[in-house]
Symmetry: C3
Subunit: 272 residues, 3 copies
């Protein structure tokens, strides 16, 4: 099935244009995310050029989603009140035509959040779903009868991702050594990035937030998810050169997200 | 009206004395703040010489406020339980004569927290209110009939701030390229700082916490708010020299808050 | 009483072996911790070689504890929902024979969390209790009739710690300039570390998390608590050399936790 997908249809120049738009328009990104990565996510968004707003209570989430450029729903540490806020934010985003990103952290491994993720996926569909291979398989298993495979790599998950994307009219981004992003018809494969990204908590979560930002400045959700992935992983390539371990890498990553130009992004992008 | 305010009545040496007191007395600062900036705020307070304590549940907030040197109430991510805790902390602070600082994050832009901010402001008045121009205008609009102007700068907000300060017997600090702090009679204008402060999440929130710390070691709330502003922005001037982007800037800012001496603070302070 | 304890019975090579096991097995560590330090704790665990998971809601905590290698319960910012989750996680850990660590942050200073700490301690006993002298005395006061002494140092607390360890069949770790860890029979004293550890929020909290990680790879809880202490404080020695203040120290600490080899840990360990 993977062979039938249109591979890497987006030219590097498209990525540069998306980053240029992001910097010019500074999209307001509402994040309903977890307590572990809220700070890092906000700093990643600010460094990249977005305007983050962590509005995640049940009273304000729906209304704020309607005035945001993009919304992130991340299931890292759900609580009763924030889970209600997530449902409200999705309603608000849909009502106003605002794109939203679902990051089903640990779906498949823990039951409550898995049920929330499946509920959200089955309802008003997300613009983009972002996760690692296991998380994507867990979602597909719920909606399409596939089993959960907790050690699934990105390569194994891409066929399931493409099916899920077609079924739910969404874009599915599967993180891994090679990141793969598909809308069920097209497939973008990006080979940038560094193992340190797996040693900094919240790198994946921040990627979901960046996708919500890019989705606020382009109508092509595949480009939004791919440009966010490219920005984070190309910045990671640069950051790895200037760092001694995961601590200094995380600091340099924020610096590089700020410093990276659209031209450099297009040049250093490695489509696989 | 601004012309009628007594401009920059505090000599630089007063700022140095305030920092000396802060370092000697290491005030216990209770923070009821948001999940995004709690870590950064605690590290800013520790580096400056305060003893932070994030006691923000409804059971403990009132009693702990009474034994704190200063209390911060920051509305960045309010929830049902923490909003109750904020009300309790204000009661505890007032009952024991402990100064407290209100930071009405995003007041005017989001309804629930705006109503909490107005409720807190109308009740037992804060020692200091800290915000950007829009937030201060939103508070004044609620209490004094002024409209909300979401893009208001610090300069436009200072007249409203002075009126609010007189009405509520408080000090109002308006962040901006030039920071302005007034008690309705006096006005301190500080021109230190660096644009990177707007690219690190929580710089403003941490400033509110520092104000609560300084308010714990001086009876002059105008001096407390001004000294906190001076400390953060002079440290930012130094940090900007040692950094490549907002990531390394945030790290260097913590270092500089620890390293800055009272003498250097007085020397580098730019009253405008 | 301290003289009757078997002093420093663990050879440095045992610490090296424990770190080797940690790196090889990458234990899954469930953290129910506070909003201030969740990010830093996760990054410390990742850098050291563990797999952190902050599962702290009441629906998922019990089940997740049963599949974790170690569980941390930290009382830094308890709320109604997370306090329930802590009780559930302890049940889950006990039911599955999973070690768990209790960090009674600010016990003795604030009533509600003190009662939760005493309740948890009196119930299914923790594998390790970690705190500063005051916190340990507060717990012992509750279970053994000793009074709370808020400025107690590690030295004064060790006798109480040994008694508590024997009574509750647990290991008690008391942080201080010299860290002391006892199971009531043996006593390990470690003299590594740097004052900057007290100027970075969450250093102690992250230590508790590391103890949960080491407890997941060794059956000797004394060794687990001691190896975690050694790893953090030896890394701190190295980090202090490469830093200008608490900001750059925290970054370098994460780097060093990643870089430190088992051999270097054994070599640089200072048993006191």
């Amino acid at each position: 099935m993977t062979r039938s997908l249109n591979l890497n249809p987006l030219a590097p120049q498209r990525f540069a244009e998306a980053l240029r738009s992001l910097r010019e328009r500074a999209p307001l990104v509402q994040c309903l995310t977890n307590i572990v990565v809220a700070n890092f996510t906000a700093n990643v968004l600010l460094a990249a050029g977005c305007a983050p707003a962590m509005v995640d209570n049940a009273q304000e989430a729906e209304g704020f989603a309607a005035i945001s450029a993009g919304v992130l729903v991340n299931l890292g540490t759900p609580y009763q009140e924030t889970a209600q806020a997530m449902r409200a934010a999705v309603r608000g985003a849909h009502g106003a035509g605002v794109p939203w990103v679902l990051d089903p952290v640990a779906a498949g491994a823990v039951p409550w959040r898995t049920s929330i993720a499946l509920e959200l996926l089955a309802g008003l569909p997300p613009t983009i779903v972002r996760g690692n291979g296991s998380e994507i398989l867990a979602l597909a298993g719920g909606s399409g009868g596939k089993g959960v495979e907790s050690t699934a790599g990105a390569d194994q998950a891409v066929e399931v991702a493409a099916l899920l994307a077609r079924e739910r009219h969404t874009v599915v981004a599967v993180s891994g050594a090679v990141d793969q992003i598909t809308d069920g018809v097209r497939l973008v494969r990006i080979a940038n990035g560094h193992p340190h990204l797996t040693r900094v908590t919240g790198a994946g979560c921040a990627l979901g937030a960046l996708m919500a930002g890019f989705a606020g400045v382009t109508d092509d959700a595949l480009l939004a998810a791919a440009a966010a992935t490219a920005l984070l992983t190309v910045a990671a390539d640069e950051a790895a050169r200037a760092s001694h371990g995961p601590g200094s890498f995380a600091v340099a990553l924020i610096d590089q997200l700020h410093l990276l130009t659209p031209e450099a992004l297009a040049q250093r992008l490695k489509l696989a």
